[in-house]
Amino acid sequence: MTTLHLSHLEQLEAEGIQIIREVVAQFEKPVMLFSIGKDSLAMLRLAEKAFAPGKLPFPLLHVNTTFKFKEMISFRNDFVKSRGHTLIEWINQEGVQSGITPFNAGTQRYTHVMKTEALKQALSHYGFDAAFGGARRDEEKSRAKERVFSFRDRFHTWDPKNQRPELWNLYNGRVAKGESIRVFPLSNWTELDVWLYVYKEQIPVVPLYFAKPRPVVNRNGTWIMVDDERMPLEPGETPEMRSVRFRTLGCYPLTGAVDSQATNLREVLEEMLRSRTSERQGRVIDYDEAGSMEQKKKEGYF
């Protein structure tokens, strides 16, 4: 006899599957954002389960800023191929042509052009009316009130004062032409839940999450990995090899590593349980100004 009582992780899984199915039922052209991080991978696993034994009824979209870690891209290619998913890669070509980098434009402007603008371009180009994202409410204050179905106008912008009430598990996905929604199946998960799920489901993740000697420099108290030659070194700065890992993955110049000896998931989990800082600390993007995430979301960021 199987147990008919759901643990919290199983409840979260069931909730996520229900959300994903609901979007497929209510929308014409959904897409799943695939950022290659652990949250994306957990979300993707939910989607696979939602439609098993069939395939995903939507493609994956990776918005490539061109400054992602090399290991992320190679992992992405192998993973998507092995699972038989359809992947769309989108790069903001205008941004590339303008020569913008995190180094010459500042993180805010760079993120806006290569992430937010790129995402909006991709959604408009393909006419996607619903986009799944792996964001969680526990990540950041302004996300705590985010709906599961987050309504966006035809400019892809978010109005925190004008979101639909969401009751029970009834999601109203009706949109007018040109409008869309962002959907967050992992809304109620915490960072720990995601890791536990990755552990329980034995989901392969990018090796950057595990400690290994990597070339890093220290900037403002954060270890930044020198992933390729595009990273300009300050005078007197030389990369040193340190055993580090990443708690979140993004653009390498904007993602801080932490000192760690944890080389597998079990050790990472133990380290995390004993840690006293939240994962977003490694992200440069939130610290630009108070309420910065809220501002970015209004502009169309995930």
Binding site: H5, K141, W168, D193
Partner: protein, 646 residues
């Protein structure tokens, strides 16, 4: 830090195993800005280590900028999310927070206590297992306390903690606490919350929140967190009534046809016989997939895909149940609604209903009353404004397989959507409407008319009578033009039902007019009275377990609607005998139409009085082209699909 301590005790492997077994408890917190609610949650998060050091650092910075506590860390600031709101110093939406202890993981829905935000509270309550209602010990029970308790009860929350906060400001007085407890118990007794707990505390000082308080030795109960960790919620699940709303039909290849959805209640095993609603088709369960993996059985809350042993027509919005335990299919539903939009609800308006995976047009036909959430008194109302709560009756274009909300929080819930703006404008909870309650409604109406009736205690109920007769009573209401074939069909149907062992009674216009309605003519008023008598008679017969086949011209939608209301919408089926006027005239051998045409008789439907054909009959029967036998067969199929006959 709790995780760290636990880790030292059980090691990482023990911890990982324990974590996977943790239960989930969803909590709603209600109270106003001043009750210290945000402080309480901030305290729970902090003391159970849900707050990280960097967040704490940010918090310290925020405290000096926005805080109201001076030197002490203002935990409330952890809770207020959006920047603009932080500056206003209030929380104006539902915010979700997460923390966990070795035993459970908690999701906290934080909602404001402002009068105008009933909407947000209902939203938070809809998914919560337990509610914490804060009371400021200095102020005691306020109107908002009643309001919060009422909304919790309305939204079906079974466990409530009354947190009497700021005990430090009333010198930890037991008398103050007891007085509040007494006052609460008085009005809580009138609500349907089975489990209520009272805890005296000081959130700001952390007393009786996570740890016990030294200052209130008179309080013998557990601190809040202990209670949250141990309150028994597994019993809240409904494992009896199988309800699987079909979200999607999965057809990855020609050999696989799966029905995907989340089990709202009940258990489902391989080999079980199921019935699909509204079609009424039955099949056996061939495979059960839970979260993508094949299993023997599944229970409430699981996301499943099932396959069946034969091809039956099922699509999104349908409901899978058991043949002997399926909800009634209703076109008309009575419900309590929380209104969430600036544009008021008024009878006559049309919306879209979303219930489980079903989306269909509905018309609100009646606003029975609204409730003053502060006094809990009901009052008449023309419309329901933003944040108001009232009882409505509505009619749906498609039949709804719904359970009363009190029995099923999934299939009994719905939202209403504005068809123009697509906004979610209302949240509803379907009410249990037993025939007994309908009679009460009528008695109330009769009472208004000056007659005073009260039901006799201990009398035999309609359910008991139906059980004695061994059939489900219902009324088939056949409407159509004169000579459209209503009576012939009614008698043929009676014969067929009789042969199947069912007792039924045919009521038709002609026979009634010879006796019961012999005093009535054919004026609009007399016709309405005629239909009223017929419906009352049908109701009586139904209440006594008899099936009624009523054949009446009943030319207006209004007459038929009132018949439906009198008989009870859940046992009333409207059938349209559809024959053109031309065909009826041709078929008429009595010279009835001819006399009408010549002006010899007046008020003949179709000739000088309009006939309004039903817009959504349970069946529209072609009584010209199709044979009586064919129409009888269609009616039988309908009755079988509604599970009215076996």
């Amino acid at each position: 830090m709790l995780h760290g301590e636990e880790l030292d005790r059980v090691g990482i492997d023990g911890w990982l195993e324990g974590y996977q077994r943790k239960e989930l408890l969803r909590i709603l917190t209600c109270g106003s800005v001043d009750d210290g609610k945000s402080t309480l949650i901030g305290r729970l998060l902090h003391d159970s280590a849900g707050v990280f050091e960097d967040q704490l650092k940010a918090l310290k910075k925020d405290t000096t900028r926005f805080g109201t506590t001076g030197e002490e860390i203002d935990f409330a600031l952890l809770m207020d999310g959006l920047q603009a709101e932080r500056e206003q110093g209030i929380t104006i939406d539902v915010a979700y927070r997460y923390f966990s202890t070795p035993r459970r993981k908690f999701i906290v829905a934080d909602t404001p206590g402002h009068e105008q935000y009933t909407r947000n509270m209902a939203t938070g309550a809809s998914t919560s297992d337990l509610a914490i209602i804060l009371i400021d010990a200095r102020k005691g029970v306020l109107a908002q306390t009643r309001r919060h308790a009422f909304i919790c009860s309305l939204l079906g929350i079974k466990h409530v903690v009354i947190a009497v906060n700021k005990m430090d400001l009333v010198e930890y007085s037991q008398d103050v606490f007891e007085a509040i407890r007494r006052e609460c118990s008085e009005f809580l007794g009138r609500l349907s919350i089975p489990d209520v707990h009272f805890i005296p505390m000081s959130a700001r000082r952390g007393e009786n929140v996570v740890g016990r308080s030294e200052t209130m030795p008179w309080y013998q109960g557990a601190p809040l967190l202990d209670y949250l960790e141990t309150v028994h919620i597994a019993g809240d699940r409904n494992t009896i009534d199988l309800r699987l709303p079909v979200q999607l039909v999965l057809r990855p290849n020609l050999d696989f046809r799966g029905f995907a959805g989340t089990i709202a209640s009940g258990l489902l095993r391989k080999g079980d016989e199921i019935v699909a609603l509204p079609s009424g088709r039955r099949a056996l369960v061939k495979q059960v997939f839970v979260s993508g993996a094949e299993r023997e059985e599944a229970g409430p809350g699981m996301a499943v895909t099932i396959t069946l042993d034969r091809e039956i027509d099922i699509s999104r919005g349908d409901l899978i149940a058991r043949p002997n335990n399926a909800p009634m299919l209703e076109h008309a539903v009575e419900a309590m609604v929380v209104w969430m939009n600036e544009a008021a609800l008024a009878p006559g308006r049309q919306y879209l209903i979303q219930q489980c995976a079903l989306q269909a047009p509905v018309a609100v036909t009646d606003l029975r009353y609204k409730i003053d959430v502060n006094t809990l008194k009901s009052e008449n109302a023309e419309q329901l404004g933003l944040n108001e709560i009232g009882r409505i009756r509505m009619e749906c274009a498609k039949p709804i397989g719904a359970d009363p909300y009190v029995r099923n929080r999934q299939t009994g819930a719905f939202i209403l959507i504005d068809r123009m703006t697509n906004a979610t404008v209302g949240a509803g909870m379907i009410l249990d409407r037993t025939p007994a309650e309908q009679s009460l409604d009528r008695e109330r109406r009769s009472h208004d008319a000056g007659t005073n009736l009260s039901p006799h205690a201990g009398s035999v109920t309609p359910e008991q009578r139906a059980a004695r007769v061994g059939q489900r009573p219902f009324t088939l209401w056949l409407t159509g033009l004169p000579r459209s074939g209503k009576s012939s069909l009614a008698h043929a149907l009676e014969r067929t039902l009789f042969e199947r062992g069912l007792q039924s009674v045919v009521l038709d216009g002609e026979s009634l007019r010879k006796g019961l309605s012999s005093d009535l003519g054919f004026s609009v008023r007399d016709r309405a009275e005629h239909v009223r008598r017929a419906s009352e008679l049908a109701r009586l017969l139904n209440d006594h377990g008899q099936v009624v086949i009523a054949a009446f011209v009943s030319p207006t939608a209004e007459q038929r609607e009132s018949a439906r209301a009198v008989v009870g919408p859940e046992r009333f089926l409207e059938l349209h005998c559809n024959a053109s006027l031309e065909a009826c005239e041709k078929r008429d051998t009595t010279g009835f139409y001819a006399r009408a045409r010549s002006g010899e008789i007046a008020n003949v439907t179709g000739v000088d009085t309009a006939y309004e054909p039903p817009t959504s009959p349970a069946l529209a029967l072609d009584t010209v082209g199709a044979s009586i036998d064919a129409n009888v067969a269609r009616i039988l199929a309908l009755l079988e699909s509604r599970l009215l006959i076996g």
